[in-house]
Amino acid sequence: MKKFKFLVKYGLKKRVWRKAFLISNIIIALLMVVIINIPSIVSLFGGGEDPEEQVNIGFINETAETDLLADYSALMNEGGEEIDFFIFKSIEATEFDLEAFWQDTESDIIIQVTGSVATPVITMYTKIPGLNYYLLSELELQLINYQITNYQQPMITTVNPPDYEDPEQEAFISSMTSMLVLPLFILIVMATQFVGVDIIEEKSTKAIETIIASVPSKTHFISKITSSILFVIIQGGLTLIYATVASLIGRAFASSAAVTLPTGTTSLLSYLQDFMPNWPVVLLFALLFMIVGTLFYLVIAALFASMAVTQEDYQHFQSPLMLTLLAAFYIGIFAPIAGGYGFMKVMAFVPIFTPILAPIAFASGLLTVVEAIIALVVVIIFLVLALYMVAPIYKVAILSYDQTKSIARMKNYFRKAFPKKVKKE
């Protein structure tokens, strides 16, 4: 155990106590600040303000407060340009035809307020659901202005077009993909590279023989994987800290007078938070998938490294592993764009793709909690099987300098690791 702890500590120190680690983390932190605060930054430079079209809102006021429309219109267009952005038009309840409204190209939104100012009932028919939150909160504010005391929370109903598909949901999946795929991919690639390079460095210099003479090959194998996964956890944790700091910077940035964001969006994180109220569960699953999935890849990478003799040899061995990771990466990026949600969902259950695809599928709602647990269990089963199979092969391969063709070498090691039992006559 003492030697195992030493090897883990040594492996970790070797990675963390390096200039490269410090430099890469400074770059990651800066990138985090930039990526997470893209809306603020774009806004700072006057970007993101597409030529906006005016929004036509039909208003049906069935309350006793006759000034409601005028006051609401003034509030909505307060501090704006000379020309009002929100064009309000009063409509009689009897004139309103819902079917005609959906077909109509002139009106964008119909707001109907019934009941009293103190106990309002609001129904919003909208072709622009993205404006719902803003319009309703301002309307509530206006209603509160009329009756500060005894104000009742209005009953609100929003009605979208019958064939409505939420574009923000798709945008959300897309943004989830880029938010999760890249860090997962990079972390797994880093970890597999580290474990492979570590092992092959010791093997190619023949130092492995001196090491294995002092510690069992199994201890060496597990220690390499443990130090790599700990590195991934440390790097993942640091990335989360950078994300949090970046988000805080974004908030401070947005609250300053320098920037005024149009819809109250301060950062990508707050944007995601609006869409993903269950983010703690998502985060937990993402971490679990990351740890278990990376372990799975590490076991395979360690096996390949033990079979290789030189760095070049290892590059050759690990290429299928990298191609698999790359395939998972591209599926994660392009499946949502191409609308291949079903495909992504299925692939999320395939263990070699699970580490990257399952967290995205779960975060974007393609997988339920139960399905995510099933995917996780499947990876864990494969991980245990991989450990059971790999440890004996590693023991045989790590001290061998066989340079026959890859497949023949693998077969040879497998035969040596699992010799056939000879039946005694």
Partner: protein, 300 residues
Amino acid sequence: MLEVKNARMLYGDLVAVDHLSFNIEPGEIFGLLGTNGAGKTTTFRMIMGLLDPTDGEILYNGKKVGYHNVNEIGYMIEERSLLTKISVKDLMLYFGQLKDMEPKVILERLDYWLKRFDITDYKNKKIKELSKGNQQKIQFISAIINNPKLLVLDEPFSGLDPINMELFVEVIRDFQKKGSMVVFSSHQLDHVESFCEKLIVLEKGKAIIEGRIDKVKKDYKKLNIRIVGDVDVEKLEAIPGVYKVIVNSNEIIAKIENEDVANLVFDYIRTCKNIMKYDVEQATLSEIFIAKVGQSHEEV
């Protein structure tokens, strides 16, 4: 005591080591000799517990060699096995701690050995920056840093100049004096002759020569007679029992089958003129080795 009892190692159908047996007592230096592929490294790997013998057993102080007693053993492999990207100090800390040594003790001992090998300036240098000879020294230090009771050295002298070779021998003898067991392999047989008391010569996994060197030489009946003077080589070769005559620039060596032939040679030498010196000596280890290995090949 190290006991190798009837050890046998098979790689598929290939017999790498065939029923090998020998003992090494504390304070003994034991040579394991043989041509390339004779089974020396496999034997060392079995001693170190890196390979399990197919048959037989290897005991160190009555117990099987394993990770429970490996901290008492020092092992130097044939090829350089150093992590080249790290410094000498870091390497020793790494290898030493794998032997359960405390960092403070490792550094103290490292300073001592670096001084002894006259390479103190290299403590913080990366291994790859060192010459091959100095890398060999570092590898040797890594094998002895834990003050081993059993020292296993696979070709420790390869690539060393005579001065450094003597330095290595001196250190090994120090360990011998302290009661450590030393087992080593080497191709430099003449050097082995003056260095160890017991040996085994392996050929294709089998011991073809074994025992104490003096006894091995004694058992090998053939002798050499060195002559300095004017002798007729043809007449010398014609003496029954003289199987070979080598003419060097300053001497003539007559190789004879046994002691009895020596008298016949001496009788002839006494008839020659200008004889300045002649004496009988035992065959060298190299000769015995070449003769036995040749014989082994012929038997196959």
